[in-house]
């Protein structure tokens, strides 16, 4: 799904592209997905139940509506002492 989002021209945050870091976490508003292999440390089962998914691993099984949070779009991380905008929970 991340590849499709990037192909569409949208600019979203992502990290390792391996399901390990959780940077590309998004929330599904409607539709069906397959999660793929994701680290339980960054995507616990409870979050999956609430619609969260890692876009770098997930595959669409139907037409989807996705909610992007501020964390998906923009973060300022230029120093370890700079305030870090919260990631999607």
């Amino acid at each position: 799904m991340l590849a499709a989002i990037l192909r569409s021209g949208a600019s979203v945050m992502f990290g390792c592209r391996g399901g390990g870091c959780g940077t590309c976490k998004m929330r599904l508003a409607s539709g069906q997905i397959a999660h793929g292999r994701c680290s339980a440390a960054v995507l616990p089962e409870e979050e999956k139940q609430c619609g969260w998914f890692l876009s770098c691993q997930a595959r669409a099984l139907s037409n989807l509506t996705i909610e992007l949070s501020a964390a998906n779009k923009y973060r300022v991380l230029r120093s370890w002492h700079t305030t870090i905008t919260d990631r999607a929970r």
Binding site: C16, R17, G18, G20, C21, W80
Partner: protein, 304 residues
């Protein structure tokens, strides 16, 4: 003060899919497989003389399981055991591990499992022990000769850095300092190279990367070629660090753990009384990525 740790001896990392990731580690990164035992694979660079330096264990998450440092002499293990007791650090004495002798295992204030050991099976490198050539033929992938260092995250870096300095007698080669004088991050050494371990701010037990040696600029660019030919995700580089002066290429394994090929060939030599280099916080950009002079979005926030 004599140094008692010869190098970072082992990093163990979690894999979300061992079959898939082992293929990457053997054919793209190009490590040598020592053995696969159940859910763990034991690996090494072609020029390493002991049984393994890198372990990959299947898990439901990515990140670091443990890091282990090899002492110079067997007696150094007793020396450190006494220091752990003197400083009131709780530790376990592990009688043996796969092809390895006794180890001391404890939790550092950074939240990482750390081990000290001396004995591991001496298997030799991939060259004949008599009249060897300079490198073995038939290597696959990047094929780094050996493990170099690891960088980990800590919620209170100052406390973690002090632990490694005080209890384990690591020295500082370089440090990043806030305007109020607080140490934000540090690069620590025992082996006479710029670092065996580095600690930066972040979550407890976080794994930022493990680095393997490459020994020339050609090897660094070839590594980037190989990763790209295999569509692996490169995070940054080829480039150069201000800190350590090493050349660098950061990339991710298929489970999202960050790895580095580190060109220590451009770095400086340490001497016993070499004093730490200070970087001010406003220069964090060139300190980390010398040529681009600013950090990318992923370097500080993306780790496992």
């Amino acid at each position: 003060m004599p140094y008692r740790i010869s190098r970072l001896g082992l990093v163990e990392i979690r894999s979300l899919d061992l079959d898939r990731d082992l293929d990457y580690y053997l054919n793209v990164l190009g490590l040598q497989l020592t053995a696969r035992e159940g859910k763990t694979a034991y690996l090494k660079g072609w020029d390493e003389r002991h049984a393994y330096s890198f372990a990959l264990t299947e898990s439901d998450r990515a990140g670091m399981v443990r890091m282990a440092f090899r002492t110079v002499d067997p007696e150094d293990l007793d020396y450190y055991e006494k220091r752990l007791k003197d400083f009131g650090v709780k530790y376990d004495s592990i009688p043996e591990d796969y092809r390895r002798g006794r180890a001391l295992r404890f939790m550092a204030p950074s939240g990482h499992t750390v081990e000290l050991y001396n004995e591991m099976d001496y298997t030799g490198n991939a060259l004949p022990p008599v009249n060897p050539g300079p490198w073995p033929e038939g290597l696959k992938g990047i094929a780094p000769p050996r493990l170099d260092h690891t960088l980990v995250t800590a919620p209170d870096p100052g406390k973690a850095i002090e632990f490694f300095q005080t209890v384990l007698e690591f020295r500082l080669s370089e440090m990043l300092v806030a305007p109020d004088g607080t140490t934000i991050a540090a690069w620590l050494w025992q082996r006479p190279a710029p670092h065996d371990l580095a600690i930066v701010p972040g979550k407890p037990g976080g794994f930022h990367h493990a680095a393997f040696v490459v020994d020339s600029a050609d090897a660094l660019f070839r590594a980037a070629d190989i990763l790209t030919m295999h569509k692996a995700r490169i995070d940054y580089g080829p480039g150069r660090h201000g800190i350590t002066r090493g050349t660098t290429l950061y990339f991710f394994d298929p489970s999202g753990n960050r790895l580095e090929t580190f060109g220590g060939y451009t770095a400086y030599q340490m001497d016993g009384d070499t004093r730490a280099i200070r970087w001010t916080q406003d220069q964090i950009g060139p300190a980390v990525f010398y040529y681009s002079q600013e950090l990318n979005e992923t370097f500080l926030s993306v780790y496992t």
